[in-house]
């Protein structure tokens, strides 16, 4: 490179938000901030910035210009995109080809400010929060075939590829999933895509008996009839506001709004759905329950609402995300019932919980209960003006020590999203 060229390629760090439009530019920016030891916040379109600790970096690196589909091979079941590509763009092209992302990307926009706002694929990978189908098909990380990105020194690195069977070197696609942008700036992501199921129905089972609910979850999980989602939406008779929201959101012709209900989804072609429904009715003893069925036209929007946390639409309160071993479902419901606003997804494993503003005592109580029962908790959304002192994520000291070493191997000067997950990282 000539001196003149070098001069021209000098990256300006003048503006507060740096928006590179090529991978090379990302690399050059990172090299520059590495040499200056300048911490930076990495964002896409900012839809997930409420997750984790607030950053106090002077500059932002926005990937919103790094957008577009690079390669979509329908027959090979993969799509390669730039990291800042809006998830809607990906969903649209897949929809046109009767395919989908099996991990059901959650639209956190509702929870954050009451309306849809999905953000970029990079953000989904960085968080690794999978939707309702998780217990059946795996998490976001299970659908990442490969990636390219820039490490904390500005080196462009890659891992994985486009094929499903690949054990060449460490599986870094897993490691960067859920790392909240603290290891690499993602530039390219290759996702596994799945054929869309022909149809679906949802069975609503009305009950508020905790024992029966957890028993139903267990039977669904034990069944070979391939249920692809199962949720429990409890009623809160003493909370008029909540009941109003609940009834507004889950307003379907075939859903009786009185009382609590468990819902599960069966997907496939019509013949297979009918057969599995018949068998599940016997397996789950459904004749002993009041139940109803949502057809495909009701089932699809129903699961979007469950998946996208519409029950917590526009909340000002804290939102907690707890994952428990499935067998702890019953004790955890007992703990939460009537005390917290919550609902359950992932067939009894995932709990979304709302806790009132400034109630850190309540949060600590939940946290202790979860840890005692071998689960984990993320304080996903903090209410405004509430500086929660404890860690937002769960971790033990040994794993934190290992995580620090790994962080150091990618980002030795701790310039990427410093302190977003853990204050030490």
């Amino acid at each position: 490179m000539s001196t003149e060229e070098k001069k021209n390629s000098q990256i300006s760090l003048d503006s507060e938000t740096l928006s590179p439009s090529t991978e090379k530019e990302v690399s050059e920016i990172v090299r520059e901030i590495y040499s200056k030891k300048l911490p930076i916040e990495i964002t896409g379109t900012g839809t997930k910035k409420v997750f984790g600790y607030n950053l106090q970096t002077a500059k932002k690196l926005s990937l919103s210009q790094l957008s577009g589909i690079i390669d979509y091979q329908k027959e090979e079941l993969y799509i390669k995109v730039k990291a800042g590509t809006p998830i809607e763009d990906i969903e649209k092209i897949l929809e046109e080809n009767n395919q989908e992302l099996a991990f059901e990307p959650i639209d956190f926009g509702y929870m954050i400010n009451g309306q849809t706002n999905k953000g970029t694929i990079g953000g989904y990978v960085a968080c690794n929060f999978a939707g309702s189908r998780r217990f059946k098909v795996g998490s976001v990380r299970d659908h990442i075939l490969g990636f390219k990105g820039v490490n904390g020194k500005g080196d462009i690195i890659k891992s994985g590829g486009t094929v499903v069977k690949n054990v060449t070197g460490y599986d870094l696609s897993k490691l960067i999933s859920g790392s909240f942008g603290t290891l690499v700036v993602l530039t390219e992501i290759t996702l596994k895509v799945s054929p869309k199921k022909q149809s679906q129905i949802t069975v609503i089972v009305y009950s508020d008996e905790i024992k029966k609910i957890s028993n139903l979850f267990d039977k669904i999980l034990s069944s070979s009839n391939e249920v692809s989602a199962a949720t429990f939406i409890p009623e809160e008779p003493n909370n008029k506001n909540y009941e109003h929201t609940k009834n507004k959101i889950f307003k379907f012709n075939d859903l009786d709004q009185e009382g609590s209900f468990l819902a599960f989804r069966i997907e496939g072609d019509k013949r297979s759905i009918d057969e599995r429904l018949k068998e599940l009715k016997i397996e789950l003893d459904l004749s002993n329950f009041k139940s109803s069925i949502l057809d495909v036209h009701q089932s699809v929007p129903f699961w979007k609402k469950v998946n996208n946390l519409e029950l917590f639409s526009g909340t000002k309160n804290n939102i907690l995300r707890a994952v428990m071993p499935p067998a702890k479902c019953e004790t955890f419901i007992k703990f939460l019932n009537k005390n917290y606003k919550y609902y359950i997804d992932w067939c009894g494993s995932l709990f979304w919980i709302e806790v009132l503003d400034k109630d850190d005592e309540k949060i600590n109580k939940i946290k202790n209960f979860i840890l005692e029962n071998s689960g984990y908790l993320t304080i996903l959304k903090k209410s405004e003006n509430f500086d929660f002192q404890d860690t937002l994520f769960t971790i033990d000291s040994t794993r934190l020590m290992i995580s620090k070493k790994i962080k150091d191997s990618f980002d030795p000067k701790k310039i990427f999203n410093p302190g977003r997950m853990y204050r030490e990282l």
Binding site: S139, K165, T168, Y170, S177, S222, S224, R276, D396
Partner: protein, 498 residues
Amino acid sequence: MTELALPQIDRTTVSKKSLIVSQLKKFTNEENVLSENEEIKPYETDGLAAYKQTPLAVVLPENTKEVSEILKFCNEENIKVIPRGAGTGLSGGALPLQDAILLGLGKFNKILEIDFDNKCVVTQPGVTNLGITHAVQHKGYYYAPDPSSQLACSIGGNVAENSGGVHSLKYGTTTNNILGVEMVMMDGTITRIGGKTLDQEGYDLLGLVCGSEGLLGVITEVTVKILRKPQSVRAALIGFPTVEDGGNCVSDIISSGIVPAGMEMMDKALIDATDKFSKAGYPKDAEVLMIVELDGTKSEVDGLLDKVSEIAKQNNSNSMKLSNNEKERLAFWSGRKAAFPACGAMAPDYYCMDGSIPRGKLSLILKEINQLSKKYNLAVANAFHAGDGNLHPLIMFDGSDKEQLRKTEEFGAEILKACVKHGGALTGEHGVGIEKRELMCEAFNNDDIQQQLNIKKSLDEKNLLNPGKVYPILRKCAEEGRVHVHRGEEKFPDLPRF
């Protein structure tokens, strides 16, 4: 076999052998430390039997605390450690070094907890893959990943290699089927990653460790997910007049939205070989043969099988059999499962390769392999896990002829390079080990490899845990070996390999 570069032997360590052995005996029962030649001979190689090295000593600890103390001691004394499960790996990942302790996990052979409520099994790493299924099948459950060596391979080794199998097309590989591990780091630190919950918070250390080929830690406990057995399993045995027709059929089935439990393919050379060997009754007029297995509810499987037959017909299939019972289904598989031994019967030696390619390139790569076969004047037979583009070409040769051996190695390397060129991977399921180490630069550049080495260094600062594996020592692309079987003398001749 081409000479393989191994890490430089630390003569100081070798000279201190008796001291090290007596020290190791303080950490575990004396009889768990083997140091005499005849005692350690069985450990000198793994499933890649062409390479042999005698370890300094073998230690067989009985619990996590012992593993931790041994590793801590070795770390402090700069002694290399090679972890080993059942030693069935095909890429030389457990090949000993002359100045290293071989840490065998054979005594970790107990299932610790069968937890039907949480749909998981907590087990020690030395338990066999099939052992887990045996422990839960009375209640209709099984462990999904099924490498062909599942009768003997250990679950700890499966984690190290991220093992797949015939059914990984639908059910994923090890990484998609484990929930947690207990692991000891090289400095003796014991850590638990994951547990009985789905996913974990923070960095996905489970995902990093799975498939790390024993370079990052020693697994001392594994929690695996168990699944309910499908209600119905049926298979179709379909022949095609041309390779293109077979390849197109694979693509059409997948893109139609069907996800078979498994989809296998064999070429003409292998059909002939296996038919002679196992009398599976495969069609003689087929250029390629496909086995498609479907599972699910009864009517679903029946419906899907109809669709598969329809797609096969559209792709000019010239023979088709559908299994109507378990006996017929297993008969379809018998030839495929006899593929490797059948090749062993056809030539004094064979090399088994393991590359991945995009499904749509199946017929293309087959053509290229056949051209290479002519170029090198060496016979080749091909078996594929076609559904996920994982191919196992078997090159036949006579190892006593040095020139043939050299040509075979070149041939093999060209196949793997072609896989990478077509957008595939160097290894689909056997791992890199020592076998494909120097080919890593075909898939990765220096920065990619350096990042991986940095991770290794952050967790094993002195590079003492399984050194010389996975990452190129020479950092240039040398042509090296594949699974080498001489006169049927496979290391585990009784294990099915497919």
